[in-house]
């Protein structure tokens, strides 16, 4: 048996119909979802301005499409001038240098670098000194390694892992006997 279902009259379609409470609540729900998207993926539309069913469906369609996009958030690159190898080291890095100096002092004198750690001023000098001591520690006890079961990784002389500080910096390393910096040390860590 076939039951005839009458077609709605043409004037039943009314995209300008004011939105009901049901649609209002749907809009609130969609807005809440949209607000969890990164800013770049949001529609920028005010839900308060939506008055008709057509406007509501247009908004819902746009947000739904955005929800389906893979959400890629761009992490911008810092400006080129952000790099500053001559930056004076903070108290944090100064203390790190001192930690490594204490380690070095436990070695036989012949194995010590002879670098005057107290005269190190810049971050770049600090990292070059720390690299020397760290590399030596790894030579003695095992190179930095991947996540295997506490196994030794490639040798510290492996070009993939071994540091290669800038030779200019190497030649500018303070040596034992150099006077410490006259600049008053910064106190922060």
């Amino acid at each position: 048996m076939k039951i005839p279902v009458p077609k709605p009259p043409p004037n039943a379609y009314n995209p300008n119909r004011p939105i009901s409470d049901l649609i209002k609540s749907q809009l609130e729900h969609v807005l809440e979802t949209e607000n969890r998207l990164p800013h770049a993926h949001r529609s920028g539309q005010s839900v308060d301005s939506i008055k008709t069913e057509a406007e509501a469906s247009d908004y819902i369609a746009r947000v739904t499409a955005r929800l389906r996009l893979p959400r890629t958030v761009i992490a911008p690159r810092p400006p080129k001038n952000a790099f500053n190898k001559r930056r004076h080291m903070s108290d944090l890095i100064r203390n790190q240098v001192l930690h490594f100096r204490e380690v070095e002092m436990t070695w036989p004198e012949a194995e010590q670098t002879g670098i005057n750690a107290a005269a190190i001023k810049s971050e770049h000098q600090a990292s070059a000194y720390i690299a020397r001591i760290t590399a030596r520690l790894h030579e003695m006890g095992g190179a930095p390694s991947s996540g295997g079961p506490n196994k030794s990784g490639p040798s510290a002389s492996d070009p993939d892992t071994a540091p290669s500080p800038n030779p200019d910096t190497l030649s500018s390393w303070p040596r034992a006997g150099d006077k410490p910096s006259r600049k008053k040390p910064r106190k922060k860590g």
Binding site: I74, A75, N84, H124, I130, G142, G147, A162, G189
Partner: protein, 411 residues
């Protein structure tokens, strides 16, 4: 046990440097009232006595030079603003006062109240709104880096509140030693050899096998051979390796913030891109301490740690009993088993928090040890670690959710 915890095989902790919760995530309150950030009315008196309100004017670099003081005495001033009442009540009113001491420049000292527009930190704020953000994760000590980072490795700083080196202490083993003794794998991935480790030089000296590099971390993620527990240290210095400029990624003032954002994104991407790893890993991003920068939530009292720091170390003419936490820091737990947009201890409309949960860095060894070495002898943990809340229950979903979020790091 929740399915997410059943599936868990790896815990990864990335600890960044020296930024407060409000400075980084405070602006998110405008989007989500459950996040205990800033509403714009929070203020501190400046050197003229005028109340200066927080402003969303934080920039990527150049504002916080000199590095804001965050030694114990300075943080005490920031928290109590010189109060001599008995007992003292933390009021968070001394941040400008403290920063003013360094340059005696009123306008400059006001910058300590600046916070970031959420859009300027797209990586951190997206992760905070996509996963679980903690409203109450505090530094372990109201003091500087080294002693705070010690809590993440040992559950204590062995009585230190300073930047002095600390060495192997037989009382409590590091979390790496505990896991190794239980035949589990643990690794500290420092950025590279010139950056090396900041806080556990003693471990590097005695047990260099615990260490890997950032590049090895990324390779291990790709190969699926990440250890049970990984702790990641950022790059602490601008330096060159083989002619390539390596920007500091730690976000320590006055290093570039965007470099840190990209570093965080790269850690997330490395885990997310390996489907097996993604479903079996919990990533915690946390900052070691607030770096002298404003936060509006007073640090809470806490269980004493069994140590006493002497006045000569605190610089305040008073001893410290390790009975108060440090300033609040950003902390985000990332996993596909975490409900989207979760706020841990959400702020209620009346400004209170129901069922308050408090976390600090001792929560890290507590969580990792409980999970990988169940039944570990509590006598081998510090009182603070024994008492610390753990966070794996936040992997609460009954079914893993699809997370299509990825970060693009343009060259």
């Amino acid at each position: 046990m929740a399915p997410g915890v059943d599936a868990l095989k790896h815990i990864v902790v990335l600890m960044m440097e020296n930024r407060s919760f409000d400075h980084m995530l405070g602006g998110l309150k405008a989007q989500n009232q459950q996040i205990d950030g800033l509403d714009g009315t929070e203020s501190n008196p400046d050197s003229t006595g005028t109340l200066f309100r927080v402003q969303d004017q934080a920039d990527f670099q150049g504002q916080l030079d000199p590095d804001p003081d965050h030694h114990f005495a300075a943080v005490d001033l920031q928290i109590f603003n010189g109060s001599v009442a008995n007992p003292r009540v933390p009021n968070m009113q001394g941040f400008i006062n403290s920063y003013f001491q360094q340059r005696r420049d009123t306008k400059h000292s006001q910058k300590i109240m600046y916070f970031f527009k959420p859009d300027n930190l797209p990586v951190l704020t997206t992760l905070a709104t996509e996963f679980a953000v903690f409203n109450r994760w505090f530094a372990s000590i109201p003091g500087p880096t080294i002693c705070n980072r010690a809590f993440a490795h040992y559950g204590t700083s062995f009585g230190r509140v300073t930047m002095n080196p600390f060495y192997v202490h037989t009382l409590y083993k590091s979390v790496y030693q505990r896991l190794a003794a239980a035949n589990r794998r643990a690794k500290i991935y420092y950025y590279d050899v010139p950056s090396s480790t900041m806080e556990v030089v003693n471990l590097l000296q005695d047990q260099p096998q615990f260490f890997g590099t950032y590049q090895q971390f990324k390779d291990d993620c790709k190969k699926g051979i990440l250890p049970d527990y990984s702790f990641i240290e950022p790059n602490y210095t601008d330096h060159e390796v083989n002619g390539k400029q390596e920007l500091a990624t730690d976000q320590h003032p006055d290093h570039n913030m965007q470099a840190g954002e990209r570093f965080i994104a790269s850690i997330y991407n490395a885990i997310h891109e390996n489907a097996d790893l993604w479903k079996s890993t919990a990533l915690l991003i946390v900052y070691d301490e607030h770096g002298g920068i404003f936060d509006h939530v007073p640090p809470l009292p806490c269980l004493q740690d069994g140590f006493v720091a002497q006045p000569s170390d605190t610089g305040t003419n008073a001893p410290f009993l390790f009975d108060r936490l440090g300033v609040r820091v950003p902390a985000i737990l990332i996993s596909p088993w975490v409900p989207r947009g979760q706020v841990v201890s959400p702020l209620q409309p009346d400004g209170t928090i129901d069922n308050l949960r408090v976390f600090e860095h001792a929560s890290i060894p507590a969580t990792v040890t409980n999970f990988f070495v169940p039944g570990f002898d509590s006598k081998q943990r510090s009182p603070r670690e024994q008492q610390a809340d753990t966070f794996l229950d936040l992997l609460s979903l009954g079914q893993m959710r699809d997370v299509d979020l990825e970060f693009d790091l343009p060259d």
